[in-house]
């Protein structure tokens, strides 16, 4: 009975989506707002990458909303996870093998440079704060994976991470308030347009990209380290007498077979 209801639901959803697909003229959009933005963005904002111009220039407040949603999710995950630590001695992962440790040592400076490059050049080439921030988070987390250390945190200082994240978020809002005080509109791009196509163009857009990138990078790195610090389960690799892997697989089969 449950299967029949599920299939009916899927069939109804498919019908709805197919009707939408046939009505909407895919391949020839109306471009009501997009056309105007494509025409005006190079002169008004001065950025070559129009997507970043819209993200940070025209719709900066939506980006502020996204940053606050990420902040709420990371804080909530941190609150949920903190109860698991410290109760008993956590069995953490062993240090990574030779390939992982060497690879992490080689990759860390490269990832750092690539991440910072993508953040800073967000208004010129495809990229921006979010992409570069994710690469920065991966750069710092690879080190934690390679050498977890005695308590699983791999030497990552949660206080410093929180400090960087808070400072970057406050910097974003401070830039917006400065625009509000100076020009009367919150988060309006300031400092003129500069020379089109160079690094120092598009006003405050590189500064906003930097704030977004640092905030997202610090947040995600801290979140993943908190996940990695959770005490390992009893049936994990560090257990000297591991349970037979057959009945774990049987449970999974039994639980997921319909």
């Amino acid at each position: 009975m449950r299967n029949l209801a599920s299939l009916l639901f899927a069939a109804g959803l498919a019908f709805l989506l197919l009707v939408i697909a046939s009505e909407l003229g895919f391949g020839d959009p109306a471009l009501l707002i997009g056309g105007d933005i494509l025409a005006q963005a190079p002169d008004e904002v001065g950025a070559t990458n129009i997507v970043t111009a819209v993200l940070l220039g025209y719709r900066g407040i939506d980006t502020l909303g996204e940053l606050s949603i990420l902040f709420a999710a990371a804080t909530a995950a941190g609150l949920v996870l903190v109860g698991g630590r410290g109760a008993k001695t956590p069995k953490v992962d062993p240090p990574g093998g030779f390939i992982l440790r060497t690879g992490a040592d080689l990759l860390f400076p490269l990832l750092l440079v690539v991440g910072l490059y993508i953040i800073v050049h967000g208004h010129l080439t495809p990229g921006g704060g979010f992409q570069g921030g994710v690469i920065l988070a991966a750069a710092f987390f690879v080190l934690v994976l390679a050498r977890p250390g005695a308590d699983g945190s791999g030497g990552m200082n949660h206080t410093a991470i929180a400090f960087i994240e808070g400072l970057a978020g406050a910097g974003f809002i401070a830039l917006g308030l400065w625009s509000l005080w100076d020009k009367g509109n919150f988060l309006q791009p300031m400092l003129g347009q500069g020379v089109f196509g160079t690094l120092l163009s598009a006003g405050t857009l590189p500064l906003l990209s930097m704030a977004v990138g640092l905030k997202v990078g610090a947040e995600l790195a801290g979140l993943m380290t908190q996940l990695a610090e959770q005490p390992a389960d009893a049936a994990d690799c560090s257990d000297p007498n591991p349970a037979n892997p057959k009945d774990k697989a049987d449970n999974q089969t039994e639980a997921t077979h319909r």
């Binding site: 240090p95 093998g97 030779f98 993943m224 390992a232 049936a235 994990d236 690799c237 257990d239 892997p245």
Partner: protein, 110 residues
């Protein structure tokens, strides 16, 4: 069926993506399901490139295939639903038998 090269490449990627999406739901091994969800994200990132959206493709590749897979795999480790291949007994036995076993799993001399 006259269609240009881009459409054929898109058709190939779409077939890989749809098969992987079905595999996500039917694989019993959960860590395999997490790996296949990374394949779905990578395929969708290639489709974004074909749709002339490079920003979105970069974000989807970095976030979907990288960060999301790592977060899900870390959760699986802590749930105990995925164990490393070498438990301590196996490593010691293999160390005496084969010299190349020390690079697998735990590095005892580190």
């Amino acid at each position: 069926m006259q269609a240009d090269l881009v459409t054929w490449i898109a058709l190939l990627v779409v077939i890989v993506v749809l098969v992987s999406a079905v595999l996500v739901l039917t694989l019993e091994n959960l860590i395999g399901a997490v790996a296949v969800s990374g394949v779905v994200s990578l395929g969708v990132a290639v489709l974004f490139v074909l749709l002339h959206a490079p920003d979105v493709a970069m974000t989807e590749a970095a976030v979907g295939a990288g960060l999301s897979g790592v977060v899900l795999a870390l959760g699986l480790r802590r749930l105990g639903l995925w164990r490393l291949e070498s438990s301590p007994e196996v490593t010691e036995h293999d160390l005496s038998a084969r010299p190349s076993a020390s690079v697998r799993g735990e590095d005892r001399n580190a």
